[in-house]
């Protein structure tokens, strides 16, 4: 590049910056360990910026966020009298707190700081055009400098916070986070959409790698949660309304009635004539419309499945019993919300490996239930036949490839690994070997991912015991077909096995088990209500996997467990506990700090027209008050900061430009637009 850096600065109007206090700006361009500096010429950027009026120092550093980078800022504030800081680095949200800390330590109000993203929005998206990327970095950072000139000192708004948390979901993650938060001293209300606690873990039999009983573990946890004085549990309840902000969320919970009182519960179950597929057993069995999820479930009281209930389907002493859903509505205030909404198994499409067409094709969750339903000492039977061998297919609904796997109804494929299936299959194979000696397993896999502590043992044991492995490639998926008439076994699995030179094998089997992947529960309504975001894989999205791994972008809403991504029992516990500690740190002090970016009125310009109030959607955020100006009683708009959401709708409504948004003023935007628009940068390098 031949252009002189000073020529890269847009020409500014003469009028800029003539304040009383001298504005002394420090500009810091970060190389981000090569992430920025491999593309953007940061030295040139820094030099260009150094020629702007008010810029006293313009520096670069390989990592501005490091202690060394931060102390550059601190020292410049102290030694050079820097009173505005502009940083160009990664996206502002990542390190805002870091830089505010450094600026405060330097003795400057931390809001005298503006952060320009030149990584995600420049170096990472313009690798192939480094000259253009450098020009863009300079221009983006000039917007920072012009904004910085107009910054004001601000103080965060401190508001009392409710030391009460709503946990959505009564599976393992919800129970674990509820228990931890309760033990930390927070009040917790846990709501579970179904009538019973326990979630997906209760549907398992034993857990790897400890081989403990899954339902015993859930029961232990449920007992601790329900006996804790800080916890309230509402089963059969869902969130139907939410407003407010961190520390002060007003929530509305609708709880269905269980329909039958305890004294007649057993009679009602006995007298119930309608049966539906039992979701606890993944449809392998039927249950009544008045039901308990499983023996030992919590609560013990049965509930009526209102979706399937029909008048007259319950009779006691021959008389029809008329049951009514009289939902209760609970409204209360919480400081934060834990999303523990869990997962559901992938549902194969009809005909996927014969599923839904061939009766001998089932899913792994169904096989686990089948084992659980088989009395000790009896053989494993399916459709009345003893199962002597079976094939397990990995990655059904996981690691899918667009163009190869059939997309789901929403057009997406599950391109992620579901993490738990490999160990779950081999753990189940070990269980089969133990319970039904002699049973053979053909394991059709791509990669065996027994990554966890103690997991590899299942793999080693499997190959030593009853499992024969066959490796398929994801562009040549195995096929499941009915066996020709007269064959001993009902199905044939065809697989091109790459462990044997890519030989086409045909394996006759009694049963095919599809290790279906993990998908988040469908919670679109909650996502919409809480304004949280799913990622491209549909799981709820954290702010950053390492910096803020359990927080959502909405303050006070955190993630626990498989709502965020596939996890096993141990990982779910850890994630839920991590969510709990984040919430305790947030609410434990009983107050939260909010950004001061709220509306403010310039009383000299306000004429009390009330246009701002007409467009304001927040109760009591803006009011007209009578004040005395020059001996006259006049109306002026007044902002109540705690009620203002800071959306800025009022700003565009005021014809006098008397109301503006702190930290994001209209005049700042105009200056930034000018910095982008004005002055043309000559072509570089030519």
């Amino acid at each position: 590049m031949t252009e002189k850096p000073e020529n890269l600065i847009p020409q500014e109007p003469e009028s800029a910056a003539q304040d009383e206090e001298e504005i002394r700006i420090g500009v810091y361009t970060c190389g981000c360990g090569g992430n920025i500096s491999d593309v953007v010429d940061i030295e040139k950027t820094a030099e260009a910026l150094s020629h702007m009026p008010n810029v006293v120092v313009s520096r670069t550093d390989a990592a501005m966020c490091s202690d060394g980078g931060q102390s550059l800022i601190e020292e410049d504030i102290k030694n050079l009298g820097i009173n505005r800081v502009v940083i160009g680095s990664c996206k502002p949200a990542l390190h805002r707190q870091t830089f505010r800390g450094a600026i405060s330590r330097g003795g400057l109000n931390p809001y005298f700081y503006y952060h320009v993203g030149i990584r995600e929005q420049d170096s990472w998206v313009h690798h192939d055009q480094p000259d253009e990327a450098t020009k863009k970095a300079i221009r983006l950072m000039t917007t920072g400098v012009v904004k910085a000139r107009m910054l004001e000192p601000l103080e965060p708004i401190r508001l009392p916070a409710e030391k009460h948390v709503l946990v959505i979901g009564g599976g393992l993650a919800g129970l674990r986070s509820a228990l931890d938060m309760a033990r930390h001293g927070l009040k917790v209300t846990l709501i579970e959409k179904t009538p019973f606690l326990g979630g997906r873990v209760a549907q398992l039999e034993t857990l790897f790698p400890t081989e403990e009983s899954a339902r015993d573990l859930i029961r232990k946890l449920v007992d601790k949660v329900t006996n804790h004085p800080n916890v309230t549990v509402y089963t059969y309840a869902e969130l139907v309304g939410m407003s407010g902000y961190v520390g002060d969320y007003h929530v509305k919970v609708l709880q269905h009635s269980r329909g039958v009182s305890d004294d007649m519960a057993d009679a009602a179950i006995a007298g119930c004539t309608k049966e539906v597929p039992d979701e606890f057993n993944y449809g392998l069995t039927k249950r009544k419309v008045v039901y308990r999820a499983y023996p030992g479930c919590y609560p013990e009281s049965p509930a009526v499945d209102w979706e399937h209930y029909e008048d007259g389907c319950v009779k006691v002493n021959g008389e029809p019993l008329h049951l009514e859903d009289q939902p209760k509505v609970w409204e209360f205030t919480v400081g934060g919300i834990v999303m523990a909404t869990g997962f559901r198994p992938y549902e194969p499409y009809e005909g996927e490996y014969g599923y839904g067409v061939l009766p001998e094709v089932i899913t792994l969750p169904q096989l686990i239930r089948l084992i659980g339903l088989t009395p000790e000492g009896q053989p494993l039977k399916w459709q009345g036949r003893e199962v002597k061998n079976l094939a397990m297919v990995h990655c059904v609904g996981s690691r899918q490839i667009a163009g190869i796997n059939k997309p789901q109804p929403d057009g997406q494929v599950n391109d992620y690994c579901s993490r738990v299936c490999c160990t779950a299959i081999l753990h189940t194979a070990a269980e089969l070997n133990k319970r039904f000696p002699g049973i053979r397993v053909f394991d059709l896999y791509q990669d065996i991912r027994t990554y966890g502590r103690g997991h590899e043992d299942y793999y080693t044991e499997a190959s030593e015991n009853n499992v024969l492995f066959m490796r398929y490639h994801n562009d040549e998926l195995p096929e499941v077909e009915p066996a020709p008439a007269g064959e001993k076994r009902p199905l044939v699995v065809k697989v091109k096995d790459y462990l044997t030179w890519g030989e086409e094998l045909e394996v006759p089997v009694d049963l095919v088990v599809l290790a279906v992947g993990i998908m988040p529960n469908p919670i679109e309504d909650l996502i919409h209500m809480l304004k949280i975001s799913p990622g491209t894989d549909r799981f709820l999205l954290e702010v950053h996997p390492k910096l803020r791994p359990v927080e959502t972008a909405v303050p006070g809403i955190v993630l626990a467990g498989t709502a965020q991504g596939p996890m096993n029992t141990q990982e779910t516990n850890a994630a839920a506990a991590a969510a709990a500690v984040k919430m305790s740190a947030l609410l434990g002090a009983g107050s939260v700090e909010l950004e001061p970016f709220v509306a403010y009125v310039n009383p000299d310009k306000c004429e009390g027209l009330g246009e701002c109030i007409k467009v304001c959607a927040y109760e009591d955020a803006l009011t007209l008050r009578t004040v005395e100006v020059d001996g006259k009683q006049v109306q002026r708009a007044v902002v109540t900061p705690a009620n203002c959401a800071g959306c800025g709708a009022c700003v565009s409504a005021c014809p006098n430009r008397a109301i503006d948004l702190r930290g994001w003023t209209l005049a700042q935007y105009e200056a930034m637009v000018d910095a982008i628009a004005l002055g043309d940068m000559p072509a570089l390098g030519g």
Binding site: G33, N35, G68, R453
Partner: protein, 440 residues
């Protein structure tokens, strides 16, 4: 010598990513934390990495702000170059004797100007750079070290006095500095003692430690890092740009002959990440990954793997039997092709990276009484599906890779969980001790 006494809520042992996260999560709630780290700087293994998967953020961009937050937190007392000698339980407290090793530099007045380092005539291999580079006998460990304070490696010092003369702060360099003993009283302990990698020469048939162009993946991290020893990816024997790089997966994991039967969890992802970074740094180089199973199981990891395949990185399912070196110091890699019926091939590469495994860095049994598993030597967790960080000893919790191999994301989450369990313990302890009056 007088023993200093410090009274805190929690003693966190280990200043890597897990220890820092546990300390921050506890301190953010108002608990007083003492964090001890045996190295001269906090940051652990993570700070030595180049970029981190799957976001490809630079490692220091994620680590240094946490290091800085630890150093500046009002509720954290950070002690580097400090080790725990013994721990004793008295009632509901742990009394730990810790020793701050002599840096031979006065930590309180050192400005980190590195003038001593420039003056020192003795070069020693840089631990930070996996011995690929060198630093002086007196040095600041690396540019983003916390604290930014020099440390003198007395074993290699000639006592020539040049550093003392070069130091602008009077009395800062102190050849007579003695270990400082501190008695710490803590209500709870978090063990975040981390991991080490399989020694590069653990598997003799791979030639690590013998052939200069067989390096560990952690050494490759340093070659790839912008602050790395050569500033560029060059092969160690002759400084040539490698044209054909091979990764040997499970070089020290899933291998009973090494006593490491388990999967080290991180190697697939770091190899794929390095391969992607290498194809950026050396666009003409061929990169081959020899693997048994690709285990990209974390959030966004499978997509990362598929991207690497699309970029042209070659994945070969094969067992590497032996590596030999030719006269040009290129490497002949004998592989058993697992997808072609075990057929043996010999392939040539000019640089081989061993995807070394994860071993526990520390056995806490002697000092803390906390036993390790006989299966894998990591800290035993009696009920991993219920309390994944609880060691079973009242008030002693474990976080991160001290409890087994895990990646950074999992370590951070685990560290949060350890802080959560410790918080619950402290809260209930306070209630018991104050007859119901709780912490807040």
């Amino acid at each position: 010598m007088a023993t200093d006494k410090i009274n805190v809520d929690v003693l966190v042992v280990g200043g890597g990513i897990a220890g820092m996260q546990s300390a921050l999560d506890l301190a953010d709630q108002g608990y007083q934390v003492m964090l001890v780290e045996k190295s001269p700087t906090i940051g652990g293994t993570m700070i030595t990495l180049s970029k981190v998967f799957p976001t490809l953020d630079c490692a220091s961009c994620i680590t240094t702000p946490k290091m800085s937050a630890v150093a500046h937190h009002d509720n954290i007392q950070m002690f580097t170059y400090t080790e725990v000698q013994s721990v004793e339980r008295q009632g509901n407290r742990y009394i730990a004797q810790v020793v701050k090793k002599p840096r031979y530099v006065n930590e309180n007045i050192c400005t980190g100007c590195r003038k001593c380092e420039y003056a020192c005539p003795v070069e020693v291999p840089s631990v930070f750079d996996q011995d690929l580079g060198a630093y002086r006998a007196i040095h600041v460990p690396f540019s983003t070290a916390v604290p930014q304070v020099a440390v003198l490696d007395m074993d290699n010092c000639m006592l020539c006095g040049k550093c003392e003369k070069a130091c602008p702060v009077e009395g800062c360099i102190d050849y007579e500095q003695k270990p400082q003993e501190i008695e710490v009283t803590a209500k709870a302990i978090v063990l975040a003692t981390g991991f080490k990698i399989t020694p590069v020469d653990a598997k003799a048939e791979y030639g690590g430690g013998k052939y200069p162009n067989v390096i560990s993946a952690l050494a490759m991290e340093r070659l790839l890092a912008p602050t790395g020893p050569y500033g560029h990816v060059l092969r160690p024997s002759d400084g040539k740009e490698p044209e054909s790089i091979a990764y040997v997966q499970c070089a020290g994991s899933r291998d009973k002959s090494l006593g490491v039967p388990y999967c080290s969890r991180i190697c697939c992802m770091y190899a794929i990440k390095q391969a992607m970074l290498l194809s950026g740094a050396l666009p003409l180089a061929d990169i081959t990954i020899y693997y048994m199973d690709i285990r990209t199981f974390g959030k966004g990891y499978e997509q990362f793997y598929q991207n690497a395949k699309a970029m042209g990185i070659e994945f070969v399912k094969a067992k590497v039997a032996k590596i030999t070196e030719d006269e040009n110091q290129n490497l002949r890699v004998r592989v058993e092709m697992m997808e072609e019926g075990g057929q043996v091939e010999e392939r040539e590469h000019d640089l081989v990276v061993l995807s070394v495994g994860v071993l526990p860095a520390y056995n806490p049994e002697a000092v803390f009484g906390v036993p390790v598993s006989s299966e894998d030597n990591f800290i035993e967790i009696p009920s991993p599906n219920f309390e994944p960080c609880n060691t079973g000893f009242p008030g002693i919790f474990a976080a991160g890779t001290a409890t087994g191999p895990m990646d950074i994301v999992d370590s951070i989450v685990m560290a949060g969980a350890a802080a959560s369990e410790a918080t619950a313990y402290l809260h209930e302890l306070a209630a018991a001790e104050n007859g119901g009056v709780t912490h807040d």
